[in-house]
């Protein structure tokens, strides 16, 4: 069970040119794990998430989710993409309601859950706004509510808190941790913020620079429940952070040099 990435490679062909985005990745994610991906920009983190979500085919190898080969759009995950996926022609409330409506949830239940989630991401009062009237961070929160409202058992999140300010980021991390600690969903979380990865995940995967490869997989032995406001002051945090940083920094430097 969980997610199993077996010998996956990805090469993009565009305008007759082939670029390698991801080089031979093997990775087992058990169900109930919280795994974070970190790596330099362009190393294929989003590509791997897209392949797990089934919207981009792997060039070689295969991906299994809960024992089934992912061949097309994976309806057993909730995916918060890096790009803006909130529908601009619907209001905030309708966007959050959409997955429930698609899954034929009863009207009263839908109303309750939409209101609940809009409250949790701090968007009460913006129900009737259109995405164009919101800031980038607010749109991200709409997307977050939209993916959490229908309670998928696996969450794929691509830099979900990247556009938020430091305070709000901590609040959202706390919210996500609370959900994960109570529901034990499988979470795959991409971030370029190493401290965020260590704060949240029970395992961090460091990717090498383009074309990406797994450089290091590290267990994070910080006990849950974790408080994102305080966990970074624990002494173990520093040591783990330093070890991961030593793996990550040269990869980022390589990217800069090119």
């Amino acid at each position: 069970m969980g997610i199993s990435v077996r010998g996956v490679e990805k090469r993009y062909v565009s305008r007759g040119k082939e670029t390698s985005a991801l080089q031979h990745v093997d990775l087992e994610i058990a169900s109930g794990e919280f795994v974070a991906f970190v790596g330099p920009s362009g190393c294929g983190k989003s590509t791997l998430l897209n392949m797990i979500a089934g919207i981009v085919p792997a060039s070689t190898g295969q991906i299994l989710h809960d024992g089934r080969i992912v061949a097309d759009a994976n309806r057993n995950v909730g995916y918060m993409t890096q790009g803006d996926s909130v529908l601009p022609w619907y209001t905030v409330a309708r966007n959050v309601d959409l997955p429930l409506k698609i899954q034929n949830v009863g009207a009263d239940e839908r109303k309750r859950r939409v209101a609940d989630w809009l409250g949790r991401v701090g968007l009460l009062g913006f129900e009737a706004s259109y995405p164009a009237e919101l800031s980038g961070g607010m749109r991200k929160r709409v997307a977050l509510a939209q993916v959490l409202v229908y309670d998928p058992s696996t969450l794929l999140m691509d830099e979900p808190f990247g556009a938020l300010d430091a305070q709000l980021k901590l609040l959202m991390q706390a919210e996500l941790l609370k959900i994960w600690e109570t529901t034990r969903k499988t979470v795959v979380f991409v971030t370029h913020d190493l401290a965020e990865a260590v704060t949240l995940a029970n395992r961090v995967v460091v990717f090498s620079g383009r074309p990406g490869r797994i450089k290091l997989v590290e267990d994070i032995p910080l006990a849950y429940p974790r408080d994102p406001f305080r966990v970074r002051f624990r002494p173990e945090f520093e040591a783990i952070y330093a070890r991961l940083w030593d793996a990550l920094a040269p990869e980022i430097a390589k990217g800069e040099a090119i």
Partner: protein, 278 residues
């Protein structure tokens, strides 16, 4: 000292925008008023010059006069003639519009979703599109007779292409990210059509509809010009044959007013439907 400066800056940064907003509103209001007054003045000027020129500079046979046209329109209205002809023209336009736009919409979506089919048919569609639809009017009269059907066919064929091409372009324009994320949250192909493709294409479709309503009217009137026994186009054609310029102008004024009213209505519909664009 520095505190006072900061305070002043703080007050300035709050007070200035609201004053600027008020000034902006006032400016907009003045401009709208000026445009409205200007429009009325231009209208009065045209009617005055026309009235004055008629019989003094130009034979009334050629340009009639506003007073005569007004009287004619009034007489048509009270005798019920105006409505008798206008209703048939509007009816044919509406049916032609409904058929042309719904068929155009369905084909636009189908072609937009299936790229290979679209590529196969592309040269033929371009070829047919290039034919002026007016040139088809005689053919439609042979096929459908001189009744309302041939007028419906002319306007439907014009509307079809405008709506088809816009729907097609709009469907191709859909952001794939929206399609993927809707599919992942469990959306069926029908859900994707309903929640993603159609709303995304809507601005293109609405533009197509807006442009094609006047075309539908033109199509109907052209059909009526060629052969008919009722309709505004028929009235104009018949009056031309009799050198009755007053009736010709009365017919043209009627068409102009109807066209303008339809356009204003469509503009409001567009604003309502595309509110999300902000």
């Amino acid at each position: 000292m520095s505190a006072r400066i900061e305070e002043a800056a703080a007050i300035g940064s709050v007070a200035t925008p609201s004053a600027a907003v008020a000034a902006w509103h006032a400016e907009q209001g003045r401009r709208r008023m000026a445009v409205l007054v200007g429009r009325i003045l231009v209208g009065i000027a045209i009617i005055t010059i026309w009235e004055y020129a008629s019989g003094r500079w130009i034979e009334p046979l050629f340009i009639s006069s506003p007073s005569r046209v007004g009287t004619r329109l009034w007489r048509w209205t009270v005798t019920g003639q105006l409505w008798n002809h206008l209703s048939i023209t509007l009816y044919a336009t509406a049916i032609g519009f409904a058929i042309g736009s719904s068929v155009g919409f369905v084909f636009g979506i189908l072609f937009g979703r299936f790229k290979t089919i679209a590529d196969v048919f592309d040269p033929y569609i371009t070829a047919i599109y290039s034919i002026p639809k007016i040139a088809l009017a005689p053919l439609f009269i042979i096929w459908f007779g001189i009744g309302i059907e041939s007028k419906v066919a002319v306007s439907a064929s014009i509307v079809f292409f405008v709506v088809f091409l816009n729907t097609y372009a709009g469907t191709r324009d859909v952001n794939q990210l929206y399609v993927h994320s809707t599919r992942i949250m469990g959306g069926s192909e029908l859900d994707i059509l309903r929640y993603v493709v159609v709303p995304s294409a809507a601005s293109w479709v609405i533009t197509g509809l807006k442009v094609s309503v006047p075309y539908a009217l033109v199509g109907t009137v052209i059909g009526e010009f060629m052969s008919a026994n009722r309709g505004i186009g028929f009235v104009i054609a018949q009056a031309t044959g009799l050198f009755d310029t007053t009736s010709v102008f009365a017919g043209l004024v009627t068409l102009g007013v109807v066209g303008a009213i339809i356009n204003v209505a469509l503009k409001h519909v567009e604003i309502r439907l595309l509110r999300w664009k902000g």
